[in-house]
């Protein structure tokens, strides 16, 4: 019995391996999608890409960065199939300028702004800390980053702009803004909730999730770019991001819909 089984199993193994290779080979060649991802969505996208690759079998190549930079690169022929922007204006602009496929634009997530400090018991649940005499507050460049613009709107609404302005240190994007706070050089800052959230909760420090009534919604839109117009993987990815499975993951990073 034993001998028999051992004689069969290697060949079985070989056959199954060959079958697996055959099944995987065409898939690996068939699909690859290049995605330009807004810096604040990098962490969820890494997770979603792995899930997509497993579910669909197509490969996702992620480039993450500032949406403004992506715009300039796309206009100049960058080889991206899909853009997941940090705002809704950039995809609209690309569509209007004929750089993206019409009617493929939709909001894949609504960003949430959070006032965050790596120190526990520092930021209270109502943002009253903003009236204290901290040294610096880190905010993304409002001209470039929607999270920065939302932060400035919030300060405006709280009538704190004048008192806080001299203490603002500006990150060129939300990633750098986070870095200024995380290294402790600024005791607090307005960052994306997705940056401080892990598995559905803020992983460390103290925070105030800014109510959405304080600023305009941070709509993050996705769009199919011209280069990806005939790429089935790109279309599949855009569809996948709307699926319940994907949305459940996006939600754990603190985004809304």
């Amino acid at each position: 019995m034993k001998a028999q089984r051992s004689r069969i199993s290697p060949s079985l193994k070989l056959i199954s391996q060959a079958a697996l290779a055959l099944a995987l080979l065409p898939a690996a060649h068939a699909g690859e999608v290049a995605v330009a991802v807004a810096a604040n969505f990098t962490a969820p996208m890494n997770k979603l890409a792995a899930m997509f690759e497993k579910a669909i079998g197509d490969k996702v190549v992620i480039s993450s960065g500032a949406t403004g930079k992506f715009y300039a690169q796309i206009v100049n022929g960058a080889p991206f199939d899909v853009l997941l922007a940090a705002d809704d204006t950039t995809p609209e602009k690309l569509e209007k300028e004929g750089k993206a496929v019409k009617d493929t634009r939709y909001t894949y997530a609504i960003g949430k702004l959070v006032l965050w400090s790596p120190q526990g018991n520092y930021v209270d649940g109502e943002g009253k800390v903003l009236t204290s005499d901290f040294t610096h507050i880190s905010i993304a460049n409002p001209k470039l980053a929607p999270y920065g613009a939302a932060a400035m709107e919030t300060l405006e609404k709280l009538k704190l702009t004048d008192s806080i302005k001299p203490r603002i240190v500006t990150g060129e994007n939300i990633g750098q803004t986070y870095q200024f706070v995380a290294t402790g050089n600024a005791p607090l800052g307005f960052v994306a909730l997705s940056q401080v959230m892990q598995d559905g909760k803020v992983s460390k420090g103290s925070y105030w999730i800014v109510p959405e009534t304080m600023h305009e919604a941070i709509r993050q839109d996705a769009i199919l770019l011209n280069k990806g117009a005939d790429n089935d993987s790109a279309k599949a990815l855009l569809k996948y991001l709307k699926s319940d499975e994907a949305r459940a993951v996006i939600k754990t990073f603190g985004y809304g819909f």
Binding site: A72, H136, N141, V169, T170, E172, Q176, F180, T183, N185
Partner: protein, 225 residues
Amino acid sequence: MQFTAENWQAVLLTLRLAGLTTLLLLILCTPLAWWLAHTRSRWRAPISAVVALPLVLPPTVIGFYLLVLMGPQGPVGQLMQSMGLKLLPFTFNGLLIGSLVYSMPFAVQPLQRAFEALGRRPMEVAATLGAAPLDRFFSVAFPMARNGFLTAAVMTFAHTVGEFGVVLMLGGNIPGQTRVISVQIYDHVEALEYTQAHWLAAGMLVFSFIVLLSIHLLQRPQSCS
């Protein structure tokens, strides 16, 4: 809408930063370059390597480590705090320190080459004539190494003006304090304000050309003699 007040502010700040960096580096690096040019110590090679590090390191590495070192948890930051001083990131002084590190090889290396070319002989002759060490340096070495000093000054100044990664990581982009030309250009480009970006960028291009041209003209007589 031509050259905005913000742009002028960035230009003036950059000139102030580059000017101070050049002045301080020439003072600090002269003894170091002198030592490197004349020593036979086994520390010569490692110290030369450390001095040259900013030439090969990405500015982001320098900026990141300076940010960590000078931050509230870093050793420099803790020292500053214990002395009751303000932390360095996001300040002009912080940028100045970053620039000193970043531009150091551009001051040390031309000086070192000039001192090496000088050799020991003129100094020995001056010594036999009874000149004290400082006098020897200022009345013999300094005039003879003049081109080295000029090259070091021009290179240091120009390199500091062109600094980007370090100031971006360390500066916090504060108008009038830490927003230098290169960061301002970056902001303009990112915000798709290409006209404004062109004003500054073209200015930098012309400036850099003049700098390189002047170094070329400076060094020509040296190579002829």
